[in-house]
Amino acid sequence: MKIHEYQAKDILRRFNVAVPKGRPVFTPEDAVRVAKEELGGSVWVVKAQIHAGGRGKGGGVKVAKSLHEVYEFSKAMLGMKLVTHQTGPEGRIVKRLLIEQGINIDKELYIGITLDRAISKNVLMASTEGGMEIEKVAEETPEKIIKEAIDPMLGLRPNQARKIAFALGLSGIQHKNAVAFLLALYKAYDQTDASLAEINPLVVTKEGDVMALDAKMNFDDNALFRHKDIAEFRDIDEEDPLEVEASRYNLNYVKLDGNVGCMVNGAGLAMATMDIIKLAGGEPANFLDVGGGANKETVANGFKIILSDPNVKAILINIFGGIVRCDRVAEGVISAAKEINISLPIVVRLEGTNAVEARTMLQNSGLSLIPASTLADAADKITRVLAQNETVSA
């Protein structure tokens, strides 16, 4: 799960990780009040809160040198469509801002903690190239990234934190504060079941403070059951409405931009089915895993979600019935298709237990369902359906 920057900073504060003073606001008036009464000073930063990076380049981060500017920037930002390299061309509507005190920056660094799957350990990554896209640094100048693997039994040790702070070129009070920062950050990452804690940039001030100017935290969905407070940070405004709807039915759905909808049991087979659609000349409109129990209800809900996407011109159902019996799934498909009255062509491929019976049922249903036997056959039939579509529209 992703959360907003201001929420991540709230969590970090709880673990004594240094962050600038700031507060989330929803109106320009509130922004001015927070700047004047709660933060004080003469420089403030207005930051758009969306679940995507690259906000600065898109105009989502501004430094205000007067309360008037705080008001103007906030007014312009709230409700604006912010497009960054991570949002895609459709962008995101800004609904919340973070107003922060201005910081007297000396150096900008990078710190990230995440799981390294190759060694099954968390790693702390650090770089002097703060404020840049770390993927680019990793690609162009990998020597500028320092990595330290964290032993799961011991956690991040002070000597590791000291080593990293020295490697970042820090000394004196800056070094001491950086070590405290790293140890606190790891504690926050570890105790919240985070899957990513990224501080980019980590800033060192002229006064020697070390603090998180930006903060990004992602969390392991599988562990949210033991972090009710973090689960409450979910902002469904940042998610696709269809995906939110699908999650209510326990369907695993990801919306894509194509024209062929698909409904599959199992994540791997669902990805493979998307690939088949592409090879057949179509573009997948979604990823949809209906999970282990493909019954009448899940199939009907799946249809509803797929059909709410106006780009869908055809549907491919691909169910491998292992424990699930195909004739039961066929029953579900037929009754759902009748109920919803679908006019789009539907290719149905049911394989596994009782597949032959299932195919006969589909054929005799009176519905214009197109049964397919193998994966290759399904691909072939999707190609034909798409070709027919084109002739009709031409």
Partner: protein, 295 residues
Amino acid sequence: MSILVDKKTRLVVQGITGSEGSFHTKQMVEYKTKVVAGVTPGKGGTDYEGIPIFNTVKDAVDATKANTSVIFVPASFAADAILEAADAGIKVIICITEGIPAADMIPVYHYLKTKNAILIGPNCPGVISPGKAKIGIMPGFIHKEGRVGVISRSGTLTYEAVKQLTDLGIGQSTCVGIGGDPVIGSRFIDIIKLFNEDPDTDGIVMIGEIGGSAEEEAAEYIKKNVKKPVVGFIAGQTAPPGRRMGHAGAIISGGKGTAAEKMAALKKAGIKVVKSPADLGITMKKALDAYYKKV
């Protein structure tokens, strides 16, 4: 022969009285897997369909000489169940449970290395050596005894590949679902090593997916060590970056872990990479025919 499980497998089912555990125990027994014990804390002394239930894995091992465990316990207790099996001396532990927090699995992974135990999963369909033993939730009837090893990160996509092989008359030595999570007990490379050393496995089908770099790691090993034909597929060629495709591990992050990258690495290692999952069976058939002519 086969790898990991066979006729000598004596299975203990952890979580045997739960709905998943009891259902699949029946299925495994029907396949003639030797299920010798079940474990449900507090239900020791009772039985399920004639299979004795114990309070701890240790009790089960002492009483029944169980040597393999399959785990169906809920996600919040599953990591501990794996540790319990390892402490009781079980050497092959297969964890079906889905949704275990990654932070729970990291120490388990490293602890098991010190115990010399092999963990398959979590979040996996299990392991089957057709005609010998079925440990997990896969449908037994699509399999056929034979000489091709199958390894995959997914469930139903593995069944798809197996069905294609069986339909072409190609049997399997062992099929292993290693699971779709970021932290898993055994990776591609671990299982491919076993297949390579197994004299009764002549070819390997590996089915990867986007995310991580385990396929690339295995490709390096294959290039150096494997003479048997290997056919590969990577699911998620059309998946967009940054979006998790069902499996917690199936995500392209920071531009890494794309299907294109993995397919290129596999090809470079001499693996026959198919673009379409529909071609897995037929490609293996051709590769095997050529291999048998050479040998």
